[in-house]
Amino acid sequence: MFQHIGEMVLMLCRTLCAWPQVWRQRQKVLDQLFDIGNASLFMVCILSLFIGGVLSLQSGPVLADRGLAGVLGAIVGTSMCKELAPVMMAVLIAGRIGSAMAAEIGSMQVYQEIDALRTMNINPLSYLVLPRLVAIAVALPLLTIFSILIGWFGGAVVAATNPRVGVPFQSFFRVLSENVDAGDVANGLFKSLCFAIVIGVVSCQQGLATIGGPRGVGRSVTKAVVNSIVLILILDYFLTRLLLYFQ
């Protein structure tokens, strides 16, 4: 575990050293961005809509029974942008994109494509890892913004249509806008940027560390997804503690 973390930190540092080459790799970054958006946008919509909806459904009736239904917009708004959207999107992207990254790089490792790059004096970190890391670091915060908006909408729809909650659409968003500011959204985006780096680094490192044949690729994919999710959840706690100091 500690060896893996050490390798990941080393890989991140070496990839950041290759940062000046990011402009040269822009076409690969755009291709990766397209892949990430194309593979996950629909799932982001569905997931966020239902997360916002279930948040309203769970907390709405409890608040309404105590005469506090009016604050539902603030609760859904804050929870979505500070916690649920960044974490749930990170978990989704770890499953959909992290696994694909580990599988692709793992296959390249197994079939000696990465060795071939090295013999041509092409650094696999700048050729393979850098574009993926940059793309996911851009895409995940964007998807998180999208998820926040859809989640708010889902929460508002349930709040307005569920008879046990009964908070009108306009009232929901008025309370939400009074209680959620740009700092809260920035809080969530910072988290999602950190999670994106975790997913990118873990997945690429697992891909590069693949040994054996197709079975090895399968093992790497599983490890990439599980390790990413575990690290995201642990990191989430510490980031939340850290960000509390800035409120």
């Binding site: 040269r24 692709e104 296959s107 390249m108 079939y111 000696q112 494509e113 060795d115 071939a116 790059l117 090295r118 013999t119 041509m120 004096n121 092409i122 050729y127």
Partner: protein, 257 residues
Amino acid sequence: MNPVVTNHQGVSVQVRGLRKSFAGTPVLQGIDFEVAPGEIFVIMGPSGSGKSVLLKHIIGLERPDAGEILIGGKPVGSPGVMDRFRLAMVFQSGALLNSLTVGENVGLYLSEHRLKPPGEIARIVAEKLELVGLKGASDKLPNELSGGMKKRAAIARALVIEPQLVLYDEPTSELDPLSAVTIAEEIVRLRQRIRATSLVVSHDRDLAFGVADRIAVIHQGQLLTIGTPEEVRRFNDPLVQRFLSADFKPSNHPPTP
């Protein structure tokens, strides 16, 4: 078959006391040899004798436990060696990047190092593909090619580098005899054209004795002999002789009723 090389563009290779173990199992046990610039040097030996591991050490993909490898007099692991000398390796599987077309694979070295403008790269790629008999295959993906075509595309990728040293890992394995002859001709032609040093790992006796200036026979991580094809053929060692003369004799296996 083995023309005298006068204008050396190739680079020398020296392997000294090379040792490597994997999980305590020795794979290379003190390998020493030298390859002169422009020479075609073939390393033969049975499967699992350490040939491919040796090749990976020479190109710098593996680090030795002991010993050293010098390319053009410089240790292979030292900074700048890969920039200073143009090295290429033709992998057993071809190792073409599956996400790129054949043309993109062949031109990858030039495009990634920005050595030529895109139009010039396209011209060079077409020229090299035609040279290996793959004219018109530029837009195909590697998975649309046969094993022999993949190997020829990998050779074209190596040719684009204009290498001073080319390493071939089992270049004729899994190939039909006609494709194997094409590959052998390509290895010799490359030396004639650009005077490159070639290091070929193979257990294909026809290829080895057809193209080599010198042959080394390796067994269980140790060199048994090094010499010209004739010297190796005459080398009086039971292991070498058994390896070189191994043949299937139907008369030894009477048909079952």
